[in-house]
Symmetry: C2
Subunit: 334 residues, 2 copies
């Protein structure tokens, strides 16, 4: 049998278990041009929270009573598409279900010999690509500059920090637990890190970045953005990637009261979404594959087992329970 997670109701505020429905369905038949994929890993992403609201955005909202969607990697079990053979590993948007009858044209074949399968949802997937473009193209750090990343222990944050170190930057990060702070300092080589839940954010950032901040990679919004604006250097760049601190607010909180610093210090703040940057994908794959091979970037992840735990994994990610990329494993790799 197959299992899928459907959107039972739209969350108001922080999601609850009752917003999700685990449904048993038959393993689907495939039509011409389709591929039966057994999902192995699926991604839970902050941006999924926005799609649970019934609002127009850059992607359509999830539909009530329909399975959720998200990136997943899996193995081909049957194929009616010439490009895919049984046993191939593939990536696509067929998450939140055990099996999917996926259109072959919407799948990408994965070389599972060069990197762990799950890395294709992490450093080699949209997560790593987001970090790459958001840091290098939007933030444009120069060697010796200071990069500050919030949500630094998360999927995107861990990759941002590692690339920034590679670029010869001084790297500081914030995270939500002392264990994460230790992980950032000791595993990822951050020059400075702090637990934003236990400090005065403004003072901690000043101490972590004594020469100011040249590039702020914002995963968080809210108080972090305010603190960063206070610490930015002249001609600094702010890469607006996410605002996870406020995705669950029924009413959006006020913005930073020091936005005028953007004028006084001549800052550039740029929002971006990775789908606009497909032209950079070949560069990303070339660079990131090399960095992975050399061990200069590592893939960090937290894996929750079983589709029945996918809603809990998603909610846990929103609460910051993951170190590195949060994934759900749906079936064995082999």
């Amino acid at each position: 049998m197959n299992h899928e997670i459907r959107l039972a109701s739209r969350p108001t505020g922080f999601p609850e278990a009752t917003n999700f429905n685990l449904v048993e369905t038959p393993i689907p038949e495939i039509g011409e041009g389709e591929v039966l994929v057994r999902n192995v890993y699926m991604s839970v992403d902050p941006s999924m929270r926005g799609r649970m609201n019934d609002v127009r955005s850059y992607v359509p909202p999830f539909q009530l009573g329909r399975p959720l969607e998200g990136r997943a990697v899996g193995q081909v079990e049957r194929s009616r598409h010439a490009d895919f053979a049984v046993g191939d590993y593939v990536a696509g948007s067929q998450g939140w279900r055990g099996y999917d009858a996926a259109e072959g044209s919407r799948l990408t074949r994965i070389d599972a010999t060069t990197a762990p399968l799950s890395a294709h949802l992490g450093v080699l997937g949209g997560t790593g690509f987001t970090a790459y473009v958001g840091l290098l193209d939007i933030g444009r750090p120069k060697p010796g500059e200071t990069v500050f990343v919030s949500g630094a222990a998360g999927g995107v944050g861990t990759v941002v920090g590692q690339i920034a170190k590679l670029m010869g930057c001084y790297v500081a990060g914030s995270a939500g637990s002392d264990a994460k702070v230790a992980f950032l300092r000791e595993e990822l080589g951050f020059d400075a890190a702090f637990n934003y839940r236990t400090v005065d954010l403004g003072r901690a950032l000043r101490e972590a970045c004594p020469r100011g901040v040249d590039v702020y990679f914002d995963n968080v919004g809210g108080a972090h953005l305010q603190a960063a604006l206070a610490q930015m250097n002249t001609f600094g760049r702010i890469s607006l990637c996410g605002a996870i601190s406020q995705y669950n607010d029924a009413t959006p909180p006020p913005g930073p009261s020091n936005l005028v610093n953007a004028i006084i210090r001549r800052l550039t703040m740029t929002g971006f979404i990775i789908v606009d940057h497909a032209d950079r994908r070949p560069d990303f794959l070339r660079d990131m594959s090399a960095w992975l091979r050399d061990g200069r970037v590592k893939n960090h992840q937290t894996v929750v087992q079983g589709i029945e735990n996918a809603p809990a994994a998603f909610m846990g990610m929103l609460r910051g329970e993951n170190m590195g990329k949060m994934l759900v494993q749906l079936s064995p790799e082999g």
Copy 2:
């Protein structure tokens, strides 16, 4: 005799007459390399309000008991600098006084035959240069796009609107009186304009810009920035030039609660200060001189007479009493 305006005390909140001191002084002697300038016009600028606070910024604060400074144009009465002869017209930072013993090296000679003298503080001065760089380099409008400018009837706003029309854009503006709105529509050829004091700002902007906003030139900050963020099109640009709505607030108000739109719509928000863009000055002077000559851009100004009225002119500018550039005339032109 000479007169100068000194900073008597630092304003808290909106400036008052008592913050300024009109002082009679002797006409200064000039030393080697100096020039005695009789000021004809001086500029009162929003940015002067920030310099009245005792805070570190990109320019040092005004000093208590010392004359204020600002751009002025005047005529050389005596000269001990080889580049300047009696009768020459010059521009410099010697404002807020009738006569100044100015270092010749800090003055620029003006050709008073091609444009009115006062235009060198308006469309041909820092005001026009700010509009030129902020619109063309920061906003990067394309023909057919929608440009919205707040404070549209002010010194910078009137030039932004005229250049945007030249570029083939649809141009909308906000201003603080019905007379200004009529001026924008009838004199400057704005496609849409509204009086922000008498409307619902969000709705008025939606109606003024039915195809959304591609470039927002922000002179105002606050509620205007929030309204613009709600109306921006994907890949829109926000040129952060000023935030006059909050320069007199003792405590800065919260920022826009919809800053997350910068991510969803992939916006770029860039603060700028004209002194960083000296490399564009030759282009600006070439283009603006041509536009003035062709009558495609006009110099609009409000002139207050007499140095004793300079503080009132400055405060009036902060209240929006000017149409076009606010100037003070200190002596006859000829």
